[in-house]
Symmetry: D2
Amino acid sequence: MDRKIPIGILGATGVVGQRFIQMLEHHPWFEVAWLAASDRSEGKPYAEAVRWRLKTAIPARLAAMQVSPATPDGAPKIIFAALDASIAAELEPRFADGGCAVVSNSSALRMQPDVPLLIPEVNAGHIHLIDRQSWRKKSGGYVVTNPNCSAIGLVLALAPLYQRFGLETVMAVTMQAVSGAGYPGVASLDILGNVIPFIRNEEEKMEEETRKLLGQLNGSKVIPAAFAMSAQCNRVAVEDGHTESVSIRLKTKAKPEEMIAAWNSYRAEPQELRLPSAPKQPILYVEANDRPQPRFDVDTGSGMTAVVGRLRPCGVLDWKFTVLSYNTIRGAAGAAVLNAELLKAKGYLE
Amino acid sequence: MDRKIPIGILGATGVVGQRFIQMLEHHPWFEVAWLAASDRSEGKPYAEAVRWRLKTAIPARLAAMQVSPATPDGAPKIIFAALDASIAAELEPRFADGGCAVVSNSSALRMQPDVPLLIPEVNAGHIHLIDRQSWRKKSGGYVVTNPNCSAIGLVLALAPLYQRFGLETVMAVTMQAVSGAGYPGVASLDILGNVIPFIRNEEEKMEEETRKLLGQLNGSKVIPAAFAMSAQCNRVAVEDGHTESVSIRLKTKAKPEEMIAAWNSYRAEPQELRLPSAPKQPILYVEANDRPQPRFDVDTGSGMTAVVGRLRPCGVLDWKFTVLSYNTIRGAAGAAVLNAELLKAKGYLE
Amino acid sequence: MDRKIPIGILGATGVVGQRFIQMLEHHPWFEVAWLAASDRSEGKPYAEAVRWRLKTAIPARLAAMQVSPATPDGAPKIIFAALDASIAAELEPRFADGGCAVVSNSSALRMQPDVPLLIPEVNAGHIHLIDRQSWRKKSGGYVVTNPNCSAIGLVLALAPLYQRFGLETVMAVTMQAVSGAGYPGVASLDILGNVIPFIRNEEEKMEEETRKLLGQLNGSKVIPAAFAMSAQCNRVAVEDGHTESVSIRLKTKAKPEEMIAAWNSYRAEPQELRLPSAPKQPILYVEANDRPQPRFDVDTGSGMTAVVGRLRPCGVLDWKFTVLSYNTIRGAAGAAVLNAELLKAKGYLE
Amino acid sequence: MDRKIPIGILGATGVVGQRFIQMLEHHPWFEVAWLAASDRSEGKPYAEAVRWRLKTAIPARLAAMQVSPATPDGAPKIIFAALDASIAAELEPRFADGGCAVVSNSSALRMQPDVPLLIPEVNAGHIHLIDRQSWRKKSGGYVVTNPNCSAIGLVLALAPLYQRFGLETVMAVTMQAVSGAGYPGVASLDILGNVIPFIRNEEEKMEEETRKLLGQLNGSKVIPAAFAMSAQCNRVAVEDGHTESVSIRLKTKAKPEEMIAAWNSYRAEPQELRLPSAPKQPILYVEANDRPQPRFDVDTGSGMTAVVGRLRPCGVLDWKFTVLSYNTIRGAAGAAVLNAELLKAKGYLE
């Protein structure tokens, strides 16, 4: 590839928008060429419009880039979108209609039948739903989405088991980091020394997205996976990394060593295609009896590996384990970047 | 009552020992007359032996009290014990053998068939196991225990449902406060911005104690309740208050308003007997969709009320809810004090 | 007193407004009769307008009270004001002009020459500035203010030393709690595991308010105290309680025991007049070498006592010490309530 | 250099010992060849002896390395020592006596007249004190030390000012991270939501070490710098990074832009010699008005750069500013590694 592909970022000033910029700074294929945010930011240099919340500095080229209006005119043909759901519901179709490939992190269109909800290691084949989208037919534009930040870690842990042993039941209780709520997001007075046992719409998203992700593409739609599923979501005083206590019942009996082997050996298209953001190992099982922990494990695989531990028998279902994933990387910006890499590898960015 | 009953505290310098002292400072029936701790503390004034970790000051009378050796000679006949399990396994039988009523917070003897594991609002009748203890027959001494700090909140929430609707299945995931690990306990480097998905032996204790607590006394032993049970335990950066995400299946169908009524109207012997430490309402259901939270709800009923919230249908079992209880009060010192009050009311302290 | 005096609260939905309601719930003299907040809240029942952030419940009577428009018409004659400075600058004069006694926690008018900036234990005499206010002459209304939350703790610690030994130099570095920034205030992503070495305008306020508070009333104005003063302000991950590391140079030599005696024995008009919110001891010196600490000491004197510790020689000035005070109580709502009590005792509420 | 120089680590299992291992994993000159810790660890594989607290994994080669007894027999000739002061006082002389170059992070010998207390960017010339040590004469062994973790950040910020403008007075108030206390170190119950205004001996160390570091080598001893100095030390709920609020008086007047230039342009021997662990820029001034902050700035220069900000006039002395440095890297392990690199470059490791 001689020249990098120009991409745009919708919602560039938010926490996920910032992660897009950080992750794309040295990307071998893509190059940020356009930034858009709310009206308030329009026309300002990015460095002035953003309240930058990452440890690495704003890339100098982007610091000076003027924030564009959030309309498809003049936007690149590939758009990473990190918008609030209500805004995404309005803007994402408009960009798809304008001929853009919209790679979205928002929940707005995830459950729409003709919109792929993708984890490239899990259901890359669902990408073909794109061809069913009316935008695609009309303007060439389309929308693909990645799941909710809590669903991604869970589904990565479930996929190898689902494929090898089948799943009957899944119960997950999350302990989610504050960065998942954006910025300013959770007030310090709400979370210091506290647990908040509620995140709006999160349990519903986890339950329905998990089944769509592990579902079967059947022509124009995805038939959701058939297992029973229940999620409870909590917010804790952690900066980055969602931890989940999971219990499952399998269809076929499995020994723990088989399950661990299923996790550790799991490889899929992103690994075979050597997509730039694909971790070598999408799932890592750690043996220590008190891991995974956000403090120590969240950066595994540059934040793209789901870390699983504590596999043990469950007194109600079959097995219990803990899974951790980096919510703003594997669970948001990194998920979308990997989706875009898959689109490129599959010829959808031409 | 003319004179208060003298009591002793074994393990008086630990976090739970300190809570005993705090809770008994103005107790209408009991008066601390004896303090014992490890050899290191023996002979020192209590204020010098202890690293006091509570917000209220050490009562002046006790600050000056000399720490006694941890032997039954010279100890009062009623002993509150807050010892590590390994030490408790050795010392508690020795005190019972020496004729003491040992009211223990330790796990050492909880599952022994002839030792009552008590929550006075739940299974006051199990107290009669005392009469089966060989110590009782020999010296008059005996041991009663209260459950693990995570089991208490759960069982308080389950008891009204169990009694009214029956239970088939219980799954609980805890988010436990650091005070549950004693002092110094959890290192700050381990928990700041972190979740630790492991607490040694905690899941096992929750699973077996819950069934003993809700079990049926049958002559000389308790037949454990028959439901399936699974617990997952996590440590979070909260000072006080264990939060639990619970899912249950009932034997009989119940409407949410019936379950809420069962919780809010629940009263038992401690309330009828007006035991001094019994909360007016052992369980409180809060309507706000983001409660209970440690920060706001842990002190409910002076820390003796379990606070339940977020009742909603479960996609796997029947119902999900959150329960919070104050781990060092209702889950430890307050539990033992209430046990002692029940013993007194039932004539076991004469 | 037969009937309680009706008072109103401007800015009733904020963190300090909530504290007013909490502190006045059982007040022997005052009774909340009117609540006002921003336009958004107007007309709603208070419980619906407020995002209540305190551990105690909203008093039932006030939960149902309708939020009034923020205008003097129909407002009681005594108004507690907890407004942002920019809004206070506009509204407080309007209420004073309308004949109200405005007891303000805002910084807007604190440094205005004819507005008393009061700590009743320190400069009760400054109250007579009221008589110089044009509002007072015209409508009977007036404004009194309490200092910034960081200045109050500092000045309480300085006052006994200033009065007995004189002060030449004061340097203070603060570590301030997040509740000082209101709600939602500091984002959790900004403060978890962090220190923010900047609070807008805070250093300036501390420096000028401290000198006005310890200044001399001279007819129509206060001549600021003449010592040199420097403040540095930091935000830390503490819920409640501002801690300050202070160094001072005295005019007259003092022994540490004399300074400690000056603190512990300090009493002033609020104590002599037995004002309901006055702590018995406005300043408490603690001997332990690692105190005061927010976790253990913030509630001293129901949050109205400044706690001092760690007095030791300074290698540059004369002495170093640490002072802690409860920022939303002694440093805000409690300060204003005590001001109002002083006004009442001095006949300014008739 | 064909072969790497074998080095040993005394106190290899502690938090600083772990940092040594992490920082030396890919070091171009040095190679860990020997690990020693307390008796309890002796003979065990390192991975079993240590409670590893860093995010990166234990290097595989060292995980399997057997922990040696803490005696000079069989130890390499270069020893990094990360011992508690009381143990260091005994062991460090023993290793120097045995012919080892002891590069120590402990406070035990720092203030001994013939022991260099070094920050290579500040006082590299003090290294020649080595030649005065009796160990050196006898066995070739010697001891060099790096300062206390709080002194290093401060002195890096002061050195350019001291050299260019002279210093009359320094006042510093620290807000120190919990990792500075080792592991388990600060109990979570002590620091969650809290500030502890006391760290044993820390203020004394900062005051005397700062003056020795900026002192003048005069034959066999260092004449301490003559400015007045006062430090106050606090512990806060931060994992890594000590923040300090500093006030200074200069000998010569300086404009802020001159001071900022002095900081940003500061280079010294480690930069000229291109020592492997030397940051390109030892001090970085950040312009944002709310920086430096541990969360965002601690990793600057791989944790080896002191970050300064908020320069503004002081109402008592001349100037105020904030400095941040990474306590376990620049303030401990990195400091010692840089010292060893300086020793190598100066021919002291031959």
